[in-house]
């Protein structure tokens, strides 16, 4: 078997080489070569990931760490950071998701992008993204992680603005990068706080050094440091208040939305918190903030999702909302559940984004679901796979989403740091999710066709449907690795593989009593039942509104017109940010330039120069070569000096 150091090198370098091959021939329009190189590169990485994962499984649970240090990156004084990478239980799962789902999306892209002139450039960016994402998850220190963290942001910028001739698309890319930079600035401060507290940025060392006592208050180093890192996460993972870039990011090609803005990059914030769980767990105030922000984002984004007509926008808000669930999970200390949902979401949301890509492709670049309907008969594979994704996300057992979402809701209720209000928010979010997703299904695939006569929808080719089928399969069975004990026991001792796998790297909350008492099997089953009923009820309601009584949605809309408009306009958050932050900054800058630079400093300078020249010309006037005048000066001088001397 190959040495793990070589494997990690292959894993990382394969997409980088793919990037260079396609990057150097970026003018080529041969999509077959570009696509094969890029897909092949990620497939090689996937193979390396699988072998690495098998090596992890073989090792004993305490020794599941495969690390490698390639070189020393920075070293100044006490500050030393290596280009070091680590595969463990957490990053092992991530590399499988990234390269596995990544390969499928690369494959899908061959079909989706084949007519695009920039196809080679596109694939080179996609490979560069995979490379950076792998650095992010494998980096063994926070700074190495940050390298990937900014790197994926850069690729996201390039891919959102891929069709840069459209000003709005270029602007969307810019908005994504700058919004992320706000988070990144906080991330940097978080790193500083941790470095000057623990003397290292190495993740394993930090996790070992993390004290085993809770840190009370807001101003402790761990609380402040983790809060700063979390602000970084709100940027990357699109949480309140920095989520605004993600819906705009849909300007990029659809496979990019699937890969970067659903399955991988946007989950980086959740991953980072799970990675540092021993630190986060001892900062209860940070955890509280995370769970509240997560729950609030889950609900807020879901409500906006109810009102959107762009198929990708619906999915985008759905992603923001689902990410909120993940943060809710990690915020109540259920790190395993957060990671679990991260994985299942990667499957079903990538599936649905690719499905929407297939729809857009088949509809000749149409994204408005009002102009769709009845696509089921034209696109049977896309419809069926999308259907499975829909069932998974609304949480119908036994699909993947059911297990992961249910676990989050359960922990939100039962965890020592959980609260019934958090559960309620999650349940409301689940109801909304079921509604808007059913609405999306109904308007796109079911009911009568509203497709324009000129458009002839068609099913996509194999390179696009194969990834859909594989992801659909994963969306069905992906949750079975984490079957909760309550169900597993009754079905005959099915173990919760997921929990077992992550156990050695997750620190448990020190038990404080109180709320923990609620954790009994009956309650768990009851809540599970409630959430299934909520999902199915809400989905049925949506079905009734959009299919059985097609006119009723308009009626409802009209009866709550002002509220609907407000939600449809995304609560005017973008407008508020422009008015309250961006415009004032631009105006201030203009005034600084005009009033301070041009009209104050420069004017003052030239005033000073005038005074100097004035003084100079006065002296020059004295030296006019007139002898009599000189004699007079001498005379006056003597008188002045004499009188000065005599007066003393």
């Amino acid at each position: 078997m190959l040495n793990h150091e070589v494997l990690i090198a292959i894993l990382l370098l394969s997409p980088l080489i793919g990037f260079f091959i396609n990057g150097l021939r970026f003018r080529s329009t041969n999509y077959v070569i570009a696509g094969s190189v890029a897909t092949g590169a990620v497939a090689i990485s996937f193979a390396a990931s699988v072998v690495l994962f098998l090596q992890l499984i073989e090792a004993s649970p305490e020794n599941r760490r495969l690390g490698v240090t390639f070189f020393e990156w920075m070293s100044v004084g006490q500050f030393k950071v290596n280009a070091g990478f680590l595969v463990d239980q957490i990053s092992g799962i991530m590399i499988l998701i990234i390269t596995g789902v990544g390969s499928l999306i690369h494959l899908f892209s061959i079909g989706y992008m084949h007519h695009d002139k920039g196809v080679t450039k596109y694939f080179s960016y996609l490979n560069l993204f995979i490379f950076n994402m792998l650095i992010l998850v494998l980096g063994d220190s926070l700074l190495t992680m940050f390298v990937g963290w900014e790197g994926v942001g850069l690729c996201s910028y390039l891919l959102i603005g891929f069709w840069f001739s459209d000003s709005a698309k270029a602007a969307a890319g810019m908005k994504a990068f700058i919004t992320n930079r706000i988070g990144d600035a906080a991330f940097i401060l978080g790193m500083f706080i941790l470095f000057f507290t623990f003397g290292t940025l190495n993740i394993q060392e930090l996790n070992v050094l993390a004290p085993n006592v809770m840190e009370a208050g807001w101003l402790g180093a761990v609380t402040l440091g983790t809060l700063m890192l979390f602000i970084g996460a709100t940027g990357k993972s699109a949480q309140i208040p920095l989520y605004v870039w993600l819906p705009d990011a849909m300007a990029g090609p659809t496979p990019v939305s699937a890969l970067i803005h659903a399955a991988t990059m946007v989950t980086a914030g959740v991953y980072m918190i799970v990675r540092l769980n021993p630190l986060f767990i001892i900062a209860p105030n940070t955890m509280m903030v995370i769970s509240i922000i997560g729950a609030a984002t889950a609900v807020l984004a879901a409500t906006i999702g109810l009102t959107q007509y762009d198929i990708k926008k619906v999915l985008a808000y759905s992603t923001v909302s689902q990410l909120g669930y993940m943060f809710l999970a990690v915020g109540v200390g259920a790190f395993g559940a957060g990671m679990f949902h991260l994985m299942t979401h990667a499957f079903f949301k990538a599936l649905m984004f690719l499905g929407s890509g297939s729809v857009i492709h088949g509809m000749h670049e149409e994204q408005d679901i009002r102009k769709m309907g009845g696509l089921k008969k034209y696109m049977p594979i896309t419809h069926f796979t999308f259907l499975l994704g829909w069932l998974a996300i609304i949480g119908v057992p036994p699909l993947a989403g059911f297990f992961s979402k249910d676990e989050i809701l359960w922990f939100a209720f039962s965890s020592p740091s959980g609260h019934w209000t958090l559960w309620l928010a999650g349940a409301i979010g689940a109801a909304l999710t079921a509604f808007y997703m059913t609405r999306l299904m109904a308007l796109t695939f079911w009911g009568p066709s509203r497709v324009d006569k000129k458009v002839h929808p068609h099913e996509s080719g194999l390179s696009m449907t194969i990834p859909l089928i594989v992801l659909a399969l994963l969306s069905v069975i992906g949750g079975w690795v984490g079957i909760p004990h309550v169900i597993g026991e009754s079905l005959g001792h099915i173990p919760n593989l997921w929990e077992h796998w992550l156990e050695p790297v997750i620190r448990k909350l020190p038990v404080t009593g109180g709320a923990a008492a609620a954790s009994d099997a009956a309650t768990e089953l009851l809540l599970m039942g409630i959430s299934v009923v909520i999902a199915i009820g809400s989905a049925s309601l949506a079905y009734w509104v959009y299919i059985i009584r097609p006119g009723s949605s308009e009626k409802i809309k009209n009866s709550i017109r002002p509220v609907y408009e407000f939600v449809n306009k995304k609560y005017l958050v973008d407008e508020a940010y422009s008015a309250a932050i961006i415009n004032p900054i631009v105006q201030t800058s203009k005034s600084l330039w005009f009033y301070v630079d041009v009209n104050f400093i420069d004017k003052l300078t030239f005033k000073a120069v005038d005074v100097a020249t004035g003084g100079g010309s006065f002296i020059r006037a004295l030296q006019n070569g007139n002898m009599q005048q000189y004699a007079m000066y001498i005379g006056v001088g003597i008188v002045v000096v004499l009188s000065f001397v005599l007066m003393r």
């Binding site: 020393e72 100044v76 900014e150 700058i178 800058s589 300078t605």
Partner: protein, 512 residues
């Protein structure tokens, strides 16, 4: 002799160029000379002992005995990389301006070599008067470069440039003379302009009293150098000088001349006046932080690309000042590194702006748009340099900026918290400019070019690729393997940080 060679070879080059009979081959000759100079500097690098904090390759002869002025050159880890930056940028600049300097070519290249000699001289001089001579000498060719080969408002710009820098120089000269009068204390009664003697002086400092020798001298030097940096609010000469200067002038001005200011803070101000520097560090950090944000904000609303980059320099130089005055290993190493980064990335930006100006004769952002479709290679290059400028990891800019912020956090978390906003604003002004110039639908200029064959926008040619390749290469080399560069300065920086209150320098091969 190698250091003298580095200084005087360019002077010889300048002389040869002035008497060279063929006009057509002058630029080839100049390029050859500058490469020769670069090779010479590489051999200096080869001979440099990076484990020593002492002055190396020292040359010392008495020049004016009566005033203790000597011809005294030496190099250590603080100046080494700046010399390399200078010798590296000059050939690139010459190749970049291959076609842009049309008239009085002879004079231009002669001036460039005199400038190179003067800049290298200021980095190497270890005698105050010798240093002053080189410092002043560097102003003259730059003055002519802007005044003769400059743009429409060149006279305004040169006057402003001259007024600012000369007033700084006057202050500095006064301070140098004052210090020379103090030297008999430490030399046993002889007057001296030797910097190493200056280091030995114990100049009285009283914290509350502004009118004490050390405080006054500190400010005299600090203001002179702050003008050069330029530090807010003494920065307004810079945007005008840049906008009017020809491309090579801008590259050298931003790439090297601004570093003369920051370098001198490290060589002169901090070790000579440690108590005052310590006492007033807050002031310079505050002004540096204001510069970071102010420069970025004003850059954001500039209508002219070149002016935008000029203001971005104010912002970047603010980082360097913060790094120097927090006076810890992170800040100072980061600042030193950032000097090189800024030379490379801003140099590259000015070169690229020059390339596009040669094609379109416009720098107005609003007239651009859609350039990426017309010039893809150029766009790739520009975006890479932009990434370096906004300090994306894996580029050189990140290493410097990160270390400076780390150092400022150690000084005070608040300084880091405020400075870090520059990370956001920096991305904002650069990416906004990139968006308006390169992306979006074709703007006025690109449209015009597609109609009119004579104004067609041609992508980078081979010469231009050769100009940019080393810069891009360096951006990633310095970003991925910073130790290759920092190892040269480590010993000197450590020595300075450890002994800043009682700084002294020895030199290799010195008798005692």
């Amino acid at each position: 002799m190698i250091l003298s060679g580095l200084i005087f070879l360019p002077i010889v080059f300048a002389l040869i160029i002035t008497i060279w009979p063929q006009r057509n081959t002058i630029r080839h000759l100049a390029l050859g000379f500058s490469v020769l100079e670069f090779i010479l500097s590489l051999s200096m690098l080869q001979n440099f002992d990076q484990n020593s904090a002492a002055l190396q390759m020292v040359e010392k002869t008495m020049w004016i005995e009566r005033f203790g002025i000597s011809y005294f050159l030496g190099i250590d880890g603080i100046s080494l990389m700046l010399i390399m930056l200078t010798t590296f940028l000059v050939p690139i600049t010459i190749l970049a301006s291959w076609n842009s300097i049309e008239d009085k070519r002879k004079g231009f290249f002669a001036a460039l070599f005199v400038l190179q000699a003067a800049m290298i001289g200021s980095f190497l001089a270890m005698d105050a008067i010798l240093f002053y001579v080189f410092w002043e000498l560097s102003l003259v060719p730059m003055y002519f470069m802007i005044g003769i080969w400059g743009g429409a408002r060149k006279i305004y710009a040169t006057i402003k440039f001259f007024i600012y820098t000369m007033s700084g120089s006057m202050l500095m000269l006064l301070a140098i003379i004052f210090m020379m009068r103090l030297t008999p204390e430490v030399t046993g009664g002889v007057i001296s302009a030797n910097l190493l003697d200056f280091y030995k002086l114990q100049i009285p400092f009283i914290a509350g009293d502004f009118f004490t020798a050390q405080t006054l001298l500190f400010f005299a030097f600090a203001i002179a150098f702050a003008i050069k940096v330029p530090l807010f609010p003494l920065h307004t000469w810079l945007p005008d000088a840049h906008v009017e200067a020809p491309t090579p002038g801008s590259v050298i001005l931003a790439g090297v001349m601004l570093k003369m200011g920051t370098y001198c803070f490290l060589r002169w101000v901090i070790p000579l006046f440690p108590e005052a520097a310590d006492h007033f560090a807050w002031l310079f950090i505050a002004v540096g932080v204001i510069g970071i944000i102010y420069g970025a904000l004003v850059a954001m609303v500039q209508p002219d690309i070149k002016k935008l980059v000029a203001y971005s320099s104010v912002s970047h130089m603010g980082y360097i000042i913060v790094g120097l005055f927090v006076m810890n290993a992170y800040g100072v190493s980061g600042a030193l590194y950032q000097m090189l980064n800024h030379g490379v990335s801003t140099g590259a930006l000015f070169i690229m702006i020059g390339m596009i100006y040669e094609r379109t004769h416009s720098r107005e952002i609003s007239k651009y748009g859609g350039l990426a479709a017309a010039m893809p290679l150029f766009t790739i290059g520009f975006v890479i340099v932009t990434l370096s400028s906004i300090a994306v990891p894996m580029t050189n800019g990140f290493v410097g900026e990160f270390l400076i912020l780390l150092g400022s956090f150690q000084y005070s978390p608040w300084v880091a918290a405020v400075s870090v906003t520059g990370v956001v604003f920096g991305a904002a002004y650069m990416l906004w400019m990139v968006k308006r110039v390169f992306f979006g639908p074709a703007g006025e200029i690109v449209k015009h070019a597609s109609h009119d064959k004579s104004h067609a926008l041609i992508d980078l040619n081979f010469r231009e690729l050769v100009v940019l390749a080393p810069l891009v290469f360096l951006i990633f080399w310095m970003g991925l393997l910073p130790n290759h560069f920092m190892d040269y300065s480590k010993a000197s920086v450590d020595h300075l940080i450890k002994n800043k209150m009682n700084y002294s320098l020895t030199w290799k091969g010195e008798g005692n």
